[in-house]
Amino acid sequence: MNSAQSQSLNVLLQEIEGIQLTHQNQRRLRADISADALPALLALLRGRAGYVHLSAISCVDWIEDDQFELVYHLWSYETSILISAHIRVARDPGIYLSVFDIYTPAAFFERDIHEMFGLYFEGSPDMSKFILTEWDGPPPMRKDFDSEQWVMDNFTWQDYHPDWLKQIEQQGGGVVKSADSSRKSS
């Protein structure tokens, strides 16, 4: 891309209210905007800046802020700059607007985020489960779901007791319970 393109892109993006732009490197542009302004930004990028490719929508669960961060990664085949638009959505009730009408691929990502995080997208064509059809627990990607604990509660492990271990146990040794218990106490 050339600097003229970059300039015009910057000018164009200033049309969005409250946008904050950060150039992370030559090909990565981070845009922080409010959730309300996102559809306008996407429409602008898609309609006037050649950003036809929605690379991904990522969701991050910031549980301490009680917010979900949604990141829309957009790519233009013309400017060769990837714009990541960051917005924050309240974790509760966890509803946001679908951008399916602007970008078709959004349907998959929104469906995925819905089943993994429980964030509902209004206007998305299909919010039914895709991967977790047999799962009735909480949305697993939420930070408050402890996967390891769930596994420990629901599964058992092999109880190995091979001959060599029996021999060692006869001699008074055996499996060290935890790394710290092996240490001497003062």
């Binding site: 092999q158 091979p162 001959d163 271990l165 790394a179 710290d180 092996s182």
Partner: protein, 620 residues
């Protein structure tokens, strides 16, 4: 929507659009006559760095469990194997990793992290079993391979794949030119950035904890420093060591000898990290942290401690926190014992030592200075007045070589001189000196005198002679390096044979013979010399730094008679109790010269006294 451009050229390949004869596939009938590429049923030999089943060299493995920590899948369990070498001081545990092949993914991260490089993978890869033999999925890797057949070495650690950081984080210190005329502290200590980098090298194996005489919680405070929480680090340090400033500077650091990272690289700078944590937290905050447990209930018991050195004060620190009243009697005007009067200022500044003592006295420990037991008070008085008495008198007298002419007035004992230097007493500074001994005390006196000589005469004329070869000196390698930098001459393998005196009765040097061997076949001390290689080391004074002994005259004749003795030392049980039920003994006078041992002794004695006093309380 703007239409994207079509860019780039097409690759020049076959024109597929026109091709496509029905006969094309028939061309491949030529393959009918070719040799088959099928491999024989016998499994192939895997590649030279294949990640197959595990091998573990039991001789090299130290059982540090870092493989367990890095394992993605919690596949590794440590198994304690009795009969294997278990030496906490050397940093060797009798634990060996056992691997669950129902978890393992053969990523070889365990191999790449292994500090001892004992773990590796073989080229073996076939293992099958049925349900009844599922136990065979849990294996204890040894050098012989999983099925007791060696298929050759596969993935091994190389310099590229090694995941440990083997070099220390650099720390600033005074250049020789800036330090040889003053007693300023040489090392500057870590900056916060350096400390975090150094702390991040730790693999949390806990060998340091095991090897430490007082079992300091080094992994915990290193982790706390790494987390940027120095106050937590101080809390962890004070769990076992009230002489934290001192041990942060002059500890013999057995932890670093045992450190697993040190097997192939430089051990973690545990001592400097401790010092960093202590220096970062303000003195008042440290006092608060120490008092966090709250004030103990007064027990009504009284304990007397003779000697305000590390052992005595550690015992005092423990006992006062158990609610006993503690009186410490110190013959000299300052507390600290050998750390105050034996260690020069450039290694341990007096004010940092004073901070440690201040923390202890702030708890309510009363120190009676200039109170020499035996003259100012007698043991009998103490026995009457106190429920328990601790003897922590240290090793205050220097040993003598008793070589010819060693009674000359210019032949000194190192401890006496050091005490004079640190208490600022006037003494006759020798123009040139010969030191006998290769330990830390020898280095201390040599380097202290070197500084004074440089100050007064502008040049250093000191020779250190020792029986050992230089690489076997008892002194810290750093000390030797720094001594050489400061202009001190070191002559190793020199057995002192006598002081040379000229006609006027002036001391002119030390005569030594070359040492052939120090110990005899039964490892007893019995040096043999090569008399033909005689050297005279010039010097107008000779300083003996060959060890110290305890001054037990304070006990008085009666008590000396009553006590049981063991080869010149007071006989004690494992808890430090003497044959007299009211008397305990701790510190250098029972376990030899070492600060951290003294601290450990102090704790042990305090625990024993506490136990004894509890019994007493319960009885009454």
């Amino acid at each position: 929507m703007s239409s994207p451009k079509t860019i780039g050229n097409k690759a020049p390949v076959l024109d597929y659009k026109s091709a496509g004869s029905l006969l094309n596939p028939l061309k491949n009938l030529q393959f009918l006559g070719r040799k088959a590429i099928t491999e024989p049923l016998q499994p192939r030999l895997a590649s030279l760095n294949y990640r197959g089943f595990h091998l573990n060299d039991w001789e090299a493995c130290v059982g540090c469990a870092s493989c367990q920590k890095i394992c993605d899948n919690a596949a590794i369990t440590m198994v304690e194997i009795p009969g294997l070498k278990n030496d906490p001081v050397k940093g060797i545990r009798n634990h060996r990793p056992a691997i669950d092949y129902g978890r393992c993914c053969w990523c070889a991260l365990c191999v790449d992290i292994c500090p001892s490089a004992s773990l590796s993978l073989s080229r073996e890869y076939v293992h099958t079993c049925d349900q009844e033999h599922i136990d065979s999925y849990f294996i204890l890797p040894d050098p012989n391979g999983m099925h007791k057949k060696h298929f050759g070495q596969g993935w091994q650690k190389t310099e590229h794949s090694d995941l440990l950081s083997l070099t220390r984080s650099a720390m600033a210190e005074l250049e020789p030119a800036n330090r040889d005329t003053n007693f300023n502290e040489i090392v500057h200590g870590f900056t916060p950035e350096q400390a975090v980098v150094e702390a991040s090298r730790c693999i949390q194996c806990g060998m340091c904890h095991d090897s430490c005489p007082t079992h300091m919680h080094a992994p915990e405070y290193i982790r706390a420093i790494w987390n940027g929480d120095v106050e937590e680090a101080v809390r962890q340090i004070y769990r076992t060591n009230p002489f934290a400033h001192v041990c942060g500077r002059v500890c013999t650091r057995r932890c670093e000898t045992a450190c697993s990272v040190g097997i192939r690289g430089e051990p973690i700078a545990i001592r400097w990290l401790k010092r960093y944590a202590m220096d970062q937290v303000s003195h008042d905050r440290i006092k608060q942290i120490v008092k966090e447990d709250g004030k103990p209930k007064a027990s009504g018991h009284k304990v007397a401690i003779i000697g305000a050195g590390p052992a005595g004060l550690t015992a005092a620190f423990d006992l006062i926190r158990s609610g006993h009243k503690v009186d410490v009697f110190e013959a000299l005007p300052h507390a600290g014992g050998m750390t105050r009067y034996g260690i020069p200022d450039y290694r341990l500044p007096f004010d940092t030592l004073q901070q440690d003592i201040d923390v202890i006295t702030s708890l309510g420990v009363k120190i009676h200075y200039n109170c020499r037991i035996g003259t100012d008070k007698t043991m009998a008085q103490l026995q009457k007045k106190y429920d328990a008495v601790v003897l922590a008198i240290g090793l205050s007298k220097g040993r003598q070589t008793r070589i010819p002419n060693s009674e000359h007035r210019h032949v000194y004992r190192a401890v006496d001189l050091l005490q004079k230097i640190s208490s600022g007493e006037e003494f006759e500074l020798p123009q040139s000196a010969v030191v006998i001994g290769g330990g830390n005390v020898a280095m201390d006196i040599a380097r202290s005198l070197a500084r004074l000589q440089k100050q007064q005469f502008g040049e250093v004329k000191i020779t250190v002679t020792a029986l050992e070869q230089q690489q076997h000196f008892m002194a810290d390698p750093d000390e030797i390096k720094e001594a050489l930098e400061e202009g001190i001459i070191i002559r190793d393998s020199c057995g002192p044979q006598g002081c040379e005196i000229d006609k006027s009765g002036k001391l002119i040097g030390l005569k030594t013979w070359k040492v052939v061997s120090i110990f005899d076949e039964e490892h007893r001390f019995s040096p043999r010399y090569d008399e033909t290689e005689e050297t005279i080391h010039a010097g107008d004074s000779v300083i003996e730094a060959i060890g110290q002994f305890a001054d037990t005259t304070l006990l008085g004749e009666q008590l000396t008679e009553k006590l049981e003795w063991n080869r010149g030392r007071i006989k004690i049980d494992p808890n430090g109790r003497t044959s007299e039920p009211w008397l305990w003994s701790a510190g250098d006078c029972v376990s030899g010269p070492d600060v951290v041992h003294a601290v450990a002794d102090g704790h042990r004695v305090a625990a024993s006294i506490q136990q004894q006093l509890t019994i007493k309380t319960n009885k009454s």
